[in-house]
Amino acid sequence: MLKKVFWLVALLLAVTFLVSPSWAKDILIGLDGPLSGPAASFGLDALNAVQMAIEEINAAGGIKGNKLKLIAKDSMQDPTKARANAEELVYKDGVVAFFASTLTTNNLASLEVTTKAKVPHIIAGTTSDIVCPDEPGKCHPYVFRLPILNSWQAEKLAIYAVKNLKAKRVALMYDATGYGLDGKKNLEKAMEKMGEKIAISETFNMTDVDFTPQLQRIRDAKADAIITWTLGVQVARIVQSMKRLGMDIPVLGSEAITEAGFRKLAGPAAEGVYIADRMPAAYDSKDPKVQAFVKKWREKTKMEEKLAVPSWSVTYYDAVYWLAEGLKKAETNREKLKEALENSTYTGVTGIKYTFTPQKHNGRNGPEDVYIVQIRDGALVTPKQ
């Protein structure tokens, strides 16, 4: 009797093996980011965008009938956590591609793992030059970046201040962190390239509350424009200090301050600020594709009417579709996927074109891909000049 039962079970087991292969398999994609803690808003903006794109792709039939499945992990602001997450996603879950953290240090920590395992490492958030330098051969073969670079932003801001705003004496305000110092270096290089000089450079600590002394030095130096390189809270304090001082010269800033938090904190003092963004002001677009995207985003995230979709969210959204194109060609072979990705062009939802070649792993081309947007009535719009 026991023997018969054994044979029956064994037979059933064999049958399941014969039937299974025809069932559809999920294609696993990994994501790491700050999903909690002080930088959580960046990570959640990324996660929402990736989820939205995957839902759409799956609803439209997936990749040749196979569904995309996202495994998201939280590394907060902890690089060791980012590394452990990457290891788990790559070796335990076996993801075919990896979306790296929006934070540069966490991005670099996971990059060591993914590149060693030869898993395409996709950067849709961080703009720091070092994760994928804009020089042939300097970017790792398995690393791909879709956004613009910090050095490009600096170049565009310098050009805009001098050529469009006709500033004769440009002042610079940067914070005393790695981000600020990197910005200072890039801006100095950019001004030099145009044969101009920075009139005065001022730095500050992240905890400073009053920027009067720095601003007064800038006024003493007779500056007629200020380029800032820091985060939203600090630029909010700067423009409010300027208001108290009755200072009325144009303020420009890096992409970090496109976040809605800056406009909320600074209030009316943020009006007129120019920002280097990775895409044109989405609100000006009459394109039905853009309008539909914005509407859908608003429904998903319950975003206020006046706020724009964060630009990094748009990049993450584009990145999923771009990856899906590659997966259609390569299926789940990581080596073939890398080849497909580095021979691709893709036009994103806001009309931005990404082109990759084996020599060029930055999807965008240079400072000409940086757009200047301006804050007007609390929204990001295309400036008049």
Partner: protein
């Protein structure tokens, strides 16, 4: 330069209020209340919730914030001082430190990690110009409000029975108790006054810093440093310490840039303490007649 001096006075008078809050408690109880920065933060957050989120009238919101801080101060006093009767003062320091950490984390849970804009209760118009210096309603308002509070405290201490009882307790707790001063009540009043000044500092500084769960740490540290600089045990000393600290910060960063500011500021700070360990206006315990 004049603008650096003006903005130094504005921020300095807020530091002075926080420094005064430290010294009021230290003078009467010998406790450094390390939860004070978090009291400032709690006042700001409660005012933010009542005024901005719940649309209460500004005055009601301010009173609600002061009330919350007074209740928290009272609770802290009961815990810290009840213990203090039996254990040493360093245990009380730890208690206030722990209370501060609890408040900080509670605020993170309640209000989240993002900073919020805080209404500028004093108005943001520019009133008049003195040469190049633009005098804003907010700047002048901060200085005047802090000045009124500090003058009130000075008058209160010198001209009321309770104030004199506080001075006597500061001088010698046992002797004060022996002549019939209710030391327990003096402690309650000290903690309440300290809470009141901390809350006032919150309404004045938060339009500059924005309201966030982490705002208390920095203002608490600077207020404490200012109190040490002036004198931790004398109210007037703490006020002077706050003003000097604010002015030095602004003038040093105007002259040398803010990279050089902190090293220079704290070097000067150490020098002062080497030559006057009790602070600029400090005196030894037996001379301490405020």
């Amino acid at each position: 330069m004049q603008e650096a001096i003006f903005s130094g006075l504005v921020i300095g008078s807020i530091y002075a209020l926080v420094a005064l809050s430290f010294s009021i408690i230290f003078a009467t109880t010998n406790i450094v209340n390390f939860a004070l920065g978090e009291m400032v933060m709690m006042a700001a957050m409660v005012a933010l919730t009542t005024i901005v989120t719940l649309h209460w009238p500004v005055v009601s919101g301010i009173f609600a914030a002061i009330l919350v801080v007074l209740i928290l101060s009272y609770l802290l006093q009961i815990i810290a001082l009840k213990r203090l009767q039996r254990v040493d003062e360093s245990t009380a320091f730890m208690l206030t430190l722990a209370a501060g950490i609890i408040l900080n984390n509670a605020a993170l849970l309640i209000w989240g990690d993002k900073p919020f804009p805080f209404p500028n209760l004093l108005g943001d118009r520019i009133l008049f110009h003195v040469g190049k210096l633009a005098v804003s309603q907010q700047g002048l308002g901060v200085i005047l409000a802090a000045l009124i509070l500090m003058i009130f405290y000075d008058w209160f201490q010198r001209n009321t029975l309770i104030g004199k009882a506080m001075m006597a307790t500061a001088l010698d707790r046992e002797a004060a108790s022996a002549v019939g001063i209710n030391v327990k009540m003096v402690h309650t009043i000290a903690f309440s006054l300290s809470g009141l000044f901390a809350a006032s500092a919150a309404f004045l500084i938060t339009p500059f810093t924005f309201a966030s769960y982490y705002m208390g740490t920095d203002i608490g540290l600077k207020g404490f440093a200012a109190a040490i600089l002036g004198s931790l045990s004398r109210g007037r000393g703490a006020i002077i310490g706050g003003l000097i600290f604010g002015l030095a910060e602004a003038i040093l960063s105007y002259l040398f840039g803010s990279n050089a500011r902190d090293p220079l500021l704290y070097m000067a700070f150490i020098l002062v303490l080497i030559f006057k360990p009790t602070g600029l206006l400090g005196v030894s315990k037996w001379q301490r007649v405020a």
